[in-house]
Amino acid sequence: MTQSVDMSVTLAGLRLRSPVLTASGTFASGREFADFIDLERLGAVVTKGVSLEPWEGNRGPRIAETASGMLNSIGLQNPGVEAFCATDLVWLAEIEVPVIVNVSGHSADEYAAVIERLEREPGISAYEINISCPNVDAGGMAFGTACAPAERVTRACRSATSRPLIVKLSPNVTNITEIARAVESAGADAVSLINTLLGMAIDARTFRPRLARIVGGLSGPAVKPVALRMVWQVANAVDVPVIGMGGIADAEDAVEFMLAGATAVSVGTANFVDPTSAIRITDGLAEFCRARSIPRVAELTGALRT
């Protein structure tokens, strides 16, 4: 069939040309991938985490491979919001693609301060608030594993901007729907999940942890079942749209997340395995719809038959 598929989706007021985004921290600001794919075909570029001051990140080794996945403890290394505006944003300004800036902080005020600085910049479509990074001591996941701090950070960010606010949730919780409802009530326009699962790897030969920081975040196909479950639970618990991610490696994975209730999906670890993943998945998603005469990809969202 040659009939074309409407791949656009609307997310927190943003009209995206595709539901396929990049997962923060796995795509930098896209520059390194421009050699492999046409960035302008992405639904949006989600940048790596940006903080108020430069962050050094953690000592190495920073990654360890695991069965069908990987652990990372990068620790949000980034040059800080000033440098980000001076370099990444300037480069991105030349590209016709929505930019979602992933924001990190050690305190609610710091998150808000990053946003305040970014508010002065054009060309930012939305913010993704990372309250779920397992790789930093202060802040990070601590904000994402209880309702009160999650709400506090969301409120602080909400009051700092009228741009769409996406809050990124941690899977390392007993009940993710509680947290999702909390950030929704605090003003989030969308939620994204999952961030990485806290994990650990040990080298039996050396008796040492494989990561210098001992623990790190698990990502990749191994986590997909947990991610799908949480996306499904959250999509049924909140009214705001959900951005689903966790182990997406091919178009069928993306379809599964949309059926579970995701309005858009993010591709993370798969970018390392195949730098063309995001576009390969976009094309596969269109083909999936075409083959089934589904006119709009958005119709997949929540279409799970239970």
């Binding site: 796995t26 930098a28 050699d35 050094e56 080794p61 990654i63 069965a67 990987m70 970018n271 730098p275």
Partner: protein, 277 residues
């Protein structure tokens, strides 16, 4: 540092489907695999590497980085040591096997303007990225001296290549089965004494590279090292592979793997699984 090893400048990497044309064991636990890889072969510079997806559908998902050892026509050669699941799978890949690689990647060796005499110090698998360099130096008329070390004669790598292009090749083995008995760093020490060198290039276990860097510094000769780090993306996006330098954290996959030894802030802890070489 001075000019770059390339007639042309480093090009952007691409995803290339490559085919194994030969794959044989060349030393105990070490194989040499030859890929038909025209695009990479045409563009790769000495010291650069390729990031290979050895197999799909396996329980290990990441690519594996390997230096390009030699280029012959449209083919690239890779010297690899079997250390784990990926290199085991690579060793099993027979002629005809198709894989894809991302490359050429990284910042390679630099040849200072007017350098007349270079010393290459290879420890075990460290010979891998020095192969292309030795050939390029010879091509440019730079005198090449090689110091290569290994546990035993049977583990010495790229010996023919080095003996073909180098003016002088000094070997060292732990067991004395060939050349000097002992470490290649010992050989390096004396070569630094009795030869007039303009630049030192080294690759091998990090502790050994660190010693060579110190010896070169003491001798007042500029030195370049090639560092291995665990790599996820290989293209500069994930920050898995950082190396502390005097200019801050650098990415081994794009700012390296070759660094000016003087800029490296050596770390005590081992950062990557040590080669058993």
């Amino acid at each position: 540092m001075g000019g770059c090893a390339c007639s042309h400048h480093a090009v952007s990497p691409a995803l290339e489907r490559v085919t194994v044309v030969a794959n044989e064991q060349v030393a105990t636990g070490v194989g040499l695999v030859v890929f038909e890889a025209p695009r990479t072969a045409a563009e790769v510079l000495p010291g650069q590497f390729v990031h290979i997806r050895i197999a799909e559908g396996t329980s290990f998902i990441l690519r594996r980085p390997f230096s390009v050892h030699r280029v012959r026509g449209g083919r690239i050669e890779i010297l690899y040591q079997v250390v784990g699941v990926g290199t085991r799978a690579l060793a099993e890949a027979g002629p005809g096997t198709v894989m894809d690689l991302v490359g050429p990647l990284g910042h390679g060796w630099e040849i200072p303007e007017g350098a007349a005499h270079a010393l290459l110090v290879a420890g075990g698998l460290g010979a891998a990225p020095l192969g292309m360099l030795a050939e390029e130096l010879a091509r440019r008329g730079v005198a090449v001296t090689v110091a290569a070390g290994a546990p035993s004669e049977k583990r010495l790598l790229a010996r023919e290549l080095f003996e073909e292009v180098a003016r002088r090749v000094e070997l060292a083995t732990d067991d004395g089965s060939c050349g000097t008995t002992g470490l290649v760093t010992g050989v390096c020490e004396s070569l630094l004494d009795d030869e007039a060198l303009d630049v030192v290039y080294t690759c091998g276990p990090e502790p050994m590279q660190r010693i060579v860097a110190a010896q070169a510094a003491a001798a007042g000769i500029s030195c370049q090292v090639s560092l291995e780090r665990l790599m996820a993306c290989g293209i500069g996006a994930c920050l898995s592979c950082v190396v502390p330098t005097t200019d801050g954290l650098m990415r081994a996959c794009v700012d390296g793997p070759v660094f000016d030894a003087a800029s490296v802030v050596w770390e005590s802890a081992e950062r990557v699984p040590e080669h058993s070489s």
